[in-house]
């Protein structure tokens, strides 16, 4: 089975903005996503990690065409959807869903839970066999909610439960692809594990492909098959999860991994930490050449002038002139 479910090539999303220089207005571009390419297979979970400003959230939404791409190509299930108009996207949306980060704002506070979960059926004008109500009840059970609560409102549920509602809504139409945008970041630690397990179970049962966006590397490592590391709108490294975490090739990946504190005091005391110098550059004015060169301890002249391509190094794909 070698045709990817999702194929992204050189995807770009620039946001126009302006700045006041004296009395003139200077037009600028925020290069949120600046040419990323990857494939996603059926049933695979791709983790998309990076720090703030790396473009992962924008990438997630652009893949689903919730944001129109500036350039590049998105091929979903064999169809090039890059330039597809919103009207024609609608039937496809049954196949591509999203889970949002904030359980408090992702649900309409004026709708009952039952209505929220039933909404996808109404929008796509699909009636599941047995009727909508029955299906909603079944979905609620599947995500660990009590089906008798379908008449309650979101504010009557806890954060973790609200996230489960969002998940139920996302899987209602049995999509092939789900983009999960930081689905557990806003939850308490003890609840995070519950929701991560839930997403894991659902994915294995239904064979859904997931793009899992997160900044928490430990969570990503647990749930992903492959991981892509983003920085300033570009992908620095893509690899199988175990390869990335045990043998990172890109300096940024190494720095990221070394920065994550682990719940193991003895190892924390002895481990060597790479502290990145400097600040994150602005996506309006990213550095020339390799975007990471301003903070990389290996940077040479070529890094400042030539943008590295994503090439195969060992078992991973790395965009670096001097991979480890």
């Amino acid at each position: 089975m070698s045709t990817p479910l999702l194929s992204v090539r050189n995807l770009q999303k620039y946001f126009p903005t302006s700045r006041n220089v004296g009395f003139r207005k200077e037009k600028l571009q925020v290069k949120a996503v600046d040419g990323i390419s990857f494939d996603l297979m059926k049933g695979e979970t791709l983790g998309l990690v990076g720090e703030s400003g790396c473009g992962k959230t924008t990438a997630g939404r652009t893949i689903l065409k919730l944001i129109e791409p500036t350039a590049g190509e998105i091929v979903f299930d064999g169809k090039d959807i890059t330039k597809l108009r919103p009207g024609l996207m609608t039937p496809l949306r049954a196949q591509m869903q999203i889970i949002f980060q904030d359980p408090f704002s992702a649900l309409n506070p004026r709708q009952t839970v039952g209505k929220i979960i039933a909404a996808p059926f109404e929008i796509q004008k699909v009636t599941p066999e047995g009727g909508v109500k029955k299906e909603v009840a079944a979905l609620m059970e599947r995500v660990g909610l009590n089906p008798e609560h379908y008449n309650r409102y979101p504010h009557e549920f806890s954060g973790g439960q609200r996230q489960r509602i969002g998940i139920a809504r996302a899987i209602a139409l049995k999509p092939k692809l789900i983009v999960a945008d930081e689905p557990v970041s806003a939850l308490d630690v003890s609840i995070q594990a519950q929701v991560i397990n839930l997403i894991d179970d659902l994915q294995k049962a239904d064979g859904i492909s997931i793009v899992f966006i997160a900044h928490d590397l430990s969570v990503v490592q647990h749930i992903s098959d492959r991981v892509a590391v983003m920085y300033l709108g570009k992908i620095m490294e893509i690899a199988k999860t175990e390869d990335l975490f045990t043998a990172p090739h890109h300096p940024y990946t190494t720095a990221l991994l070394s920065a994550v504190p682990q719940p193991d005091p003895r190892s924390e005391r002895t481990r060597e930490r790479i502290i990145l110098k400097g600040d994150l550059p602005s996506p309006i004015n990213p550095p020339a050449g390799c975007v990471f060169n301003t903070r990389c301890w290996k940077a040479q002249d070529i890094c400042r002038s030539k943008t590295p391509e994503l090439l195969t190094v060992g078992k991973s794909q790395v965009a670096c002139h001097f991979p480890e």
Partner: protein
């Protein structure tokens, strides 16, 4: 050597529309010079209310507070709970300082950084404008801000998140406080910036020998910087000890549950995370008996009926490592040891 901070039997309650919230229910913590004590807990555990009470920033009109919070500095000390507001204010920013979670909004957007720092000094040393400005620049340098004289004249929006948190730290240290309270100081920051800030705090602590009370929900951060840990749940401390004890031989079921449920880098990712079932209890209607009982999987190991009806005391065979649980300690040691090994595989 006297402890810099001694919280004894702190209880904090405040009224809401649905009833009285028992946010903090008998908490005792101490911080010695040069020591970092972490309070770990999730939302609703009472950790933030505890930290705010230490500098008296709770809502004084509606909050009821009892117990004692004693702050000891070189030759003065004060009980924050019983002290009048003006005395508390004289301690704030001078003997006890606090930094908060979100550096983006914690600085006044309309005043220059240098003047905000100088103000922290001038409040307690009125009239010494020159000394204040000089110290402001010194502190900016101490926290690692390049070109401090230039940047002191700038405004907060010209600084990045990590830089702003450094400025907040500088502001907190303007008067050489004995104790620094850090409430989730790195939660809103990127992981690489977090590493920088935690390292900075550790370095500064060594230099100034101050005590740090660190509030966090992140077990990784605790492991990185804490010397001793208090684990809070539903307003009470459920386990207290030094950091190695907490992580390698936890005695409270909740602590064990947390350690098992946190994903770790390097762990076998094929295994499911061992999540704690259920949810934290409401602080208005706390269950009788142990607050964690509804979610605990070890009830069967305790004398029957005790978990549901009796609140366990904070005890330990080693006075440095205490926990609340009705299951006898030796039984816990045996059972938990196996689980911990499994979690850290």
């Amino acid at each position: 050597m006297k402890n810099l901070l001694e919280i004894k039997d702190l209880k904090v309650t405040f009224p809401t529309d649905d009833g009285f919230v028992h946010a903090v229910d008998g908490v005792s913590i101490s911080v010695a010079p040069g020591e970092t004590v972490a309070i770990v807990g999730e939302s609703g555990s009472g950790k933030t209310v505890t930290s705010l009470s230490v500098i008296g920033l709770h809502n004084r009109r509606v909050t009821q507070i009892s117990g004692s919070i004693i702050v000891n500095d070189k030759n003065e000390s004060l009980d924050i709970v019983s002290a009048p507001l003006d005395k508390i204010r004289s301690y704030r920013g001078r003997v006890v300082s606090m930094i908060f979670q979100d550096p983006m909004s914690s600085l006044h957007p309309y005043y220059r950084i240098g003047s905000q720092l100088a103000e922290a000094y001038l409040v307690h040393n009125p009239g010494q404008k020159e000394a204040a400005n000089k110290k402001a620049v010194e502190m900016l340098e101490l926290v690692g801000i390049p070109e401090p004289q230039v940047r002191a004249k700038e405004y907060p929006h010209q600084f990045s998140g990590g830089m702003r948190q450094r400025v907040m730290i500088a502001m907190a240290l303007m008067n050489d406080p004995a104790v620094l309270i850090a409430d989730e100081p790195t939660t809103a920051l990127d992981v690489t910036v977090q590493a920088q800030i935690l390292q900075l705090l550790k370095d500064l602590q060594k230099k100034l020998n101050m005590g740090i009370l660190l509030i966090t929900h992140d077990l990784g951060v605790v492991a990185q910087v804490a010397d001793r840990v208090s684990v809070m749940y539903a307003g009470r401390i459920v386990e207290q000890g030094n950091v190695d004890d907490i992580f390698y031989s936890p005695h409270a079921p909740y602590t064990l549950g947390l350690l098992k449920s946190v994903p770790r880098i390097g762990a076998k990712s094929s295994e499911r995370l061992k999540a704690i079932p259920g949810q934290p209890p409401s602080l208005i209607n706390l269950p009788t008996g142990c607050a964690f009982a509804p979610r605990c999987e070890y009830i069967s190991l305790a004398p029957s009926g005790s978990c549901e009806s009796l609140k366990p005391e904070l005890l330990g065979s080693n006075s440095e490592h205490k926990s609340r649980c009705h299951v006898p300690e030796d039984k816990r040691d045996k059972t938990f040891a196996a689980e911990i090994k499994g979690a850290r595989a």
